[in-house]
Symmetry: C2
Subunit: 428 residues, 2 copies
């Protein structure tokens, strides 16, 4: 097993291809987007991720990796394509099926096909069936098909590809074992071999578990806000209980995994997913609460200043801190909604999203951090990007911090808590 083809060069596929190349495989990255392929071959990362530029430069220079829009023959194929939400919140498997069809044409006896994309339970067995029906190969004997869900954390992708434990679910036991061999060359965590549906369910359960934990943080934040208590201080105190560990609430849940994957379970088991459904709704409702609180602060500001035109600086657009990823971002939705507010000047800034991209989305609303800060009456922090940690506001500015940075706890005097117009609870 020397050659490896990674299908889909996105947030997971590209780093996986690079790590595999750095551990001895000859890797070809296949992507249907010619611009992306060209950039990668020039060692220009199409996404922001620590270490990516250096590692990409390394494997391009050593000729262990290149990208192509032509699917090559290969000993092993790893599919890492998006599986977004389709109609009625069902998984859209278009890309997975297209990748499989493309691979089928190049299959040779002994090949291993591994699906890393997150999919509904049963999908990997379906791919095996597609292969059996469209070729003369017997899966488990001639061709080996398995699911090995990715588990990486954007901004720590390279560390996690190498050190995380993995689960490999085979269509047969031989499939699981063959696929596990592929990963053993570059994964230092443990590799469990299970059935394909087992691995599919594990992945969906993992992300649903994260969604529920985040929903709990948001539910608690909402309750604290209703009781006029600082949610961050409340959660910090609750977490002193030896069996409680509530996450830090933010402005919502985004990204391509946690906000999407629970639906694959809800779709398949509508009557057995009451908690997961509630979590999805609570997390989807969170940006609306942020918008409502911002409007409350706006009303309050106008009342206090006897003025109408107010300037709000919105800081952060991505779905998490210190990345450039806008997929399913609640901050993006909040910013877009606030832009429709009357008699309000909205300024937008995100240090990680390329300028051209920000201008594409927000035109003249885009501002530099310093000039935005000078003009703003209200500063709304939505994402805990590193550069926002040392912001200094003037005493006349209202701070609304939903990023989890908790800047207001360092700058107590300027904090307009949600329901700031009501009497807050003393915290002594």
């Amino acid at each position: 097993m020397d050659t490896l083809c990674v299908v889909g060069l996105g947030y997971v596929g590209l780093p996986t291809a690079i790590v595999a190349a750095q551990h001895g495989y000859t890797v070809i990255g296949y992507d249907i987007n010619p611009n992306r392929v060209a950039l990668i071959n020039q060692a220009q990362p199409p996404i922001h991720e620590p270490e990516l530029k250096e590692r990409l430069t390394d494997v391009i220079a050593s000729k262990r990796f290149y990208a192509s829009t032509q699917l090559p023959k290969s000993d092993c194929f790893i599919i890492a394509v998006p599986t977004p939400l389709g109609r009625y919140c069902a998984a859209d498997l278009t890309y997975v099926f297209a990748a499989t069809d493309a691979i089928i044409k190049n299959l040779q006896p002994g090949n291993i096909v591994i699906l890393e994309s997150t999919v509904p339970v049963g999908t990997t067995d379906l791919l095996a069936k597609m292969i059996s029906q469209k070729t003369d190969f017997i899966v488990g004997k001639d061709i080996f098909v398995a699911h090995c869900p990715e588990r990486v954390w954007p901004s720590k992708v390279f560390h996690e590809i190498i050190y995380n434990d993995r689960v490999v679910g085979g269509v047969t036991l031989a499939c699981a074992q063959k696929a596990a061999e592929i990963y053993k060359k570059f994964v230092q965590g443990s590799i469990s071999t299970k059935s394909a549906p087992f691995a599919e369910l594990v992945k969906l359960v993992e992300n649903s578990s994260i969604d529920v934990s985040v929903a709990l943080a948001h539910q608690v934040a909402t309750l604290a806000e209703e009781a006029h208590i600082d949610p961050y201080e409340l959660i910090e105190t609750a977490n002193k209980h030896p069996r409680v560990n509530i996450l830090t609430p933010t402005c919502g849940v985004g990204g391509h995994c946690v906000a999407v994957d629970p639906w694959f379970l809800i779709q398949a088991y509508p009557h057995k997913t009451r908690l997961l459904q509630a979590a999805r709704l609570v997390n989807d409702e969170r940006p609306l609460q942020v918008i409502t609180t911002t409007r409350d602060a706006l009303t309050q500001w106008r009342k206090e200043h006897g003025a109408t035109n107010c300037t709000i600086l919105v800081l952060g657009l991505t779905y998490k801190a210190n990345v450039d990823d806008l997929r399913e971002s609640p901050a993006l939705k909040i910013a877009q909604t606030l832009c429709t507010e009357k008699d309000t000047t909205i300024l937008i800034h995100d240090p990680y999203v390329p300028q051209y991209k920000q201008e594409e989305l927000f035109g003249s609303h885009v501002a530099h951090l310093e000039s935005g800060l000078c003009q703003a009456n209200i500063v709304l922090i939505l994402v805990a990007h590193q550069p926002f940690k040392n912001l200094m506001l003037s005493p006349t500015q209202t701070l609304l911090d939903f990023s989890g940075l908790q800047l207001h706890r360092l700058q107590k005097a300027h904090y307009a808590a949600p329901h700031a117009h009501k009497q807050p609870q003393p915290t002594y």
Copy 2:
């Protein structure tokens, strides 16, 4: 501050009184139950808890503690009475109000009144109001009223009273500070001083958080069972993800806290507690799933053996492992429901619940462990009591383990998974 009166000598009050006495206070325990008071004064613990007997004997012998049905005068009063669910899932505060009324008659200037019972947000301020209205004292000046929610884990109560961090919520800042002083003598964890509503909300949030975490475990177990996958193996694998930590599913949630306290929040904020409501429903549904699975196994056993009369041994009745506490126990409800099953002999055994109590509840169903094991066709483990860890079943017996002990993973051959009649997923 030398004398301390603990009102209510139950699972929290009695250990608290003992620890306070062992740390230099002269403590009188007040309880309305004369039998309980008599037992305690003879150094006979009315409940099962490690270290209780030895510590009680110590403080009785040293005359630093005694129990009484007469409420004494005291420098400080700690209220630790039950706050069960009342009608429409509202908190029943009868015992709290009765305790407060009793204390009011004995109040002297400088006294401190601390509520440890879990209560809805606003209750402590209400007690302060009761005191102000029924006496001439000014709360915060003459009398100090605070809430200091207990955070103990049955079976580790003494360790946790001493080492856990505590939050003290005062009706005024002076109330919080005075109450904190009381705990500083015997608590080695940190003590935060907050407002009374803050402390009330923290406690409700803590237990709601635990309820949500347990509900997630049960939701995942149900999904795994639907997919014919062993839930324990699935969760073990999911927990290898660096940001996932799903608890071990059992047969439901019981006890006086986790199954009760979320309702105090749901009652107060019905439109802001969607996740907490879902968690309560998922956890309350779990015993029904256990009953259904047991019935499925019964049907399967009859089919395989061509027989009708089947003997089921039910192991464990309490709401958690290694305690005698039956409050809100799902295992108890499951056992009671199974006793109504036709053509089935139900045998019941719990090594921690006193024999007389078991016979009161289950009459002739009560069995010894060994004889029950000899007779049983199906062994249903509901609670992970220590003595069940080394059970040896014969190959003809069906094991259903919902306790979290995971005995079936050591005795694979005998495991009848939920939906055992369906084809289970291979796990390789």
